[in-house]
Symmetry: C2
Subunit: 435 residues, 2 copies
């Protein structure tokens, strides 16, 4: 099993390549290339906040995040497919897609999962409190939780934190970063992404924040993301665009193949006062922007994967079915033998080719070719003579590894997948006694 | 994907429990409870040999193994499902099931995989050489290879070794142990198992040898086993009995979920001069003996898993479908988070329960109960209060861990699965530069 979020089908469009051909006027912030520096990083009509309310013991670590649309907006959500899922997933899943969403409230430090009937009450209570502060219906508030599982939610900490989160809402860079921090558990880097473009004279902004760094300590971590857009979408359009983006981003990453009980990605999309419906060309451009933000955030999760020393990009092409290409990419990405070989800077084509062979895709050995970092080392079923030492040295010094797998079946399906290597540090982090 | 060998369907009979109720007069050898000490450990009419012929550089390490039936016997084989498979798999797969098999020749140190047309020629040549020595048809000889892939088979070493292997054939304990050693790559323990029983006044012996210790260095290891029986079976009966045994043994183990290109299990069954056809009761007892030998060998592979500190038994019961129970057992066994938690002596029920949840089996959270080493720590979807420290201390001192998962769906399907934990030592062994 793989950590697939939601059940959207995969459409074989090579959008990440299309995306690189488009230009947006993205404002860059030092250290975070897609973050605006001197203006609000949020779409018009959105405000956020983040703070420490006491779920975590360290007072300097934020544990609450709030994302608000000042007007009712379209909301779509895609959730974990795990049969064991947290109470917030059950509550939020019932409320999307919807046309009148106002907020997403997220706490970290406690996943509110495996907490029974009380957990459901607690998750609904969180949305009641935010709704009271915003003056809206509780059904218009979505909720996510991440952290330890099996422990009741600490209501006393949240009772003070939830009104404070409403009070501190702002549209500043700091308020956005605080919200991104409030979601974090074992993450070591803040994960944000912004894209802007001109749509017929109106600036459209897509801003997203995410958390996730493998499913590790304290009991399990998880992957959460909120993406906001100041573009007029119906709930169905928002749902379709979110699934399109997830299929090219969060469903193309794997750290350890372990699907969390709490994975959630939410898209909030609201039109501004002067915005009319989007034309077809603008819808396409908006989709590309949402895809790019989702890919940025997904890549940031892999770059932050605990204990990882390499960021691995896997391209699979030449098949007629993107679903089959995806299956091969996942088999390679989830193989502990491939991941440990890359940790050891070993261009071990035997492990990669054998993972291709067991991916349950109908293919012949002679159809497989493989390149690592641009050097073809296996072609049409046979190993080539190549400079092993040079490829290894490059893997030892460069954090990024590119694995290109061609299956010569004259197809045009192409899938790009991202994963991390498997190091002794990953084992150390996950073997520490945490319960 | 999982390292399933062959495509036999799973029959939901709880045979390993039945087996424990039967008694065989097994002769025990110090250090190896199922090895006879003062008589031939081989079935009547079988001889074996093992030697160093020069494929491996260390002259003290054996690299060739031969298993011979003095008369034509029934042979069945089950092979890797990997689409990328070694030349010996292609050659042997065409030759079973058959009624007139004479031998299995195995070399270690070179897998003869990804070696193209020359590899096929080399694999057939190995069987030609053995057939010449035994005076039989090459089609009556099966072949297996394990070791590095992508390198041509060293014919010069084998040219001397193959006749020598025929010359040294014997029915002694040493000859059997040499054959088991000749198959080994990164194995640290010799893997043999013997069962004997009285069938209407005739002693029937089942003897098996295996190699495997995770798919690790130098390029990939693999799992091979040869099981011999002095009981009259037709090729179809041998095939059915072998698949039955594999479904309860080699298909119930996982070290790292990476399916090899060379996995092979072969059963040779020949009647002795005075044996008639087996009655139904004797067939059932024979099946149980073959299952037990296969389970012994499969468990030995897990106990020898490189870098492993814990031997983990996973029981799943309460479902109506053994296939679903097996899917849950595999999801838990293959989760790096479960395996690292056990390495750290952490009874982390959250990771186990969430792996149950993503196994793609239709179930409710409230149907799941979990016990570790006899202590129930999660019942009907809720965590229990239990002595965490005591369970952890036990996991720290005892190499064996038992995970019992009940899915309360009033079914009688039961599956037992074995795996190892995931340690920093596994990563170290597999991250060493080996190509």
């Amino acid at each position: 099993m793989h950590p697939t979020i939601g059940d959207a089908c995969f459409v074989p469009i090579d959008l990440y390549r299309l995306a690189s051909l488009l230009t947006f006027f993205t404002i860059r912030l030092p250290g975070n290339p897609h973050m605006p520096s001197d203006q609000s990083p949020l779409p018009q009509g959105f405000r956020t906040s983040g703070l420490h309310c006491g779920i975590k013991s360290d007072p300097d670590t934020l544990d609450l995040a709030l994302f608000v649309s000042d007007r009712p907006c379209a909301a779509a959500g895609v959730f974990t497919q795990n049969r064991v899922c947290g109470a917030p997933v059950k509550v939020s899943r019932e409320r999307v897609p919807r046309a009148t969403c106002r907020a997403v409230i997220i706490n970290s430090g406690n996943a509110n999962a495996c907490t029974g009937a009380q957990g459901l009450k607690d998750a609904r209570w969180m949305t009641d409190e935010i709704a009271a502060g915003l003056g809206c219906s509780a059904d218009d508030v979505l909720v996510c939780s991440t952290g330890v599982i099996g422990h009741p939610l600490p209501r006393e900490a949240l009772a003070g934190g939830l009104p404070a989160a409403v009070d501190r809402l702002a549209a500043t860079p700091d308020a956005f970063t605080d919200a991104a921090r409030g979601m974090m558990t074992t993450d070591t880097i803040v994960k944000q992404s912004v894209r802007q473009a001109d749509f017929d004279g109106t600036t459209v902004t897509i801003s997203g924040a995410a958390k996730g760094a493998a499913m590790i300590a304290p009991n399990m971590a998880t992957m959460l993301a909120v993406i906001m857009a100041d573009a007029p979408l119906s709930p169905d359009e928002a749902d379709r665009m979110l699934r399109h983006a997830i299929d090219r981003s969060f469903n193309c990453i794997s750290v350890d193949g372990h699907m969390s009980t709490s994975d959630t990605v939410i898209l909030l999309a609201g039109g501004t006062a002067d915005s009319g419906p989007l034309g077809v060309g603008n819808q396409q451009q908006l989709q590309t922007m949402i895809d790019e933000v989702a890919i940025d955030l997904a890549q940031a999760i892999i770059r932050d994967a605990e204990g990882a020393a390499h960021f691995i990009t896997i391209d699979v092409h030449g098949l007629r079915s993107a679903e089959q290409a995806s299956r091969i990419a996942r088999a390679v990405a989830d193989s502990p033998l491939v991941k440990t070989a890359i940790a050891g800077a070993d261009p071990n084509w035997g492990r990669i080719v054998s993972a291709v062979g067991y991916a349950d895709v109908d293919l012949q050995e002679e159809e497989i070719s493989l390149a690592i970092n641009g050097t073809t080392i296996y072609r049409a079923g046979s190993p080539l003579v190549y400079d092993e030492r040079a490829v290894s040295d490059q893997m030892r010094t460069d954090r990024d590894v590119h694995i290109d797998i061609e299956i010569a079946q004259d197809g045009f399906a192409a899938v790009r997948f991202w994963t991390s290597d498997l190091t002794a540090e990953y084992v150390r982090l996950n073997a520490e006694y945490t319960t």
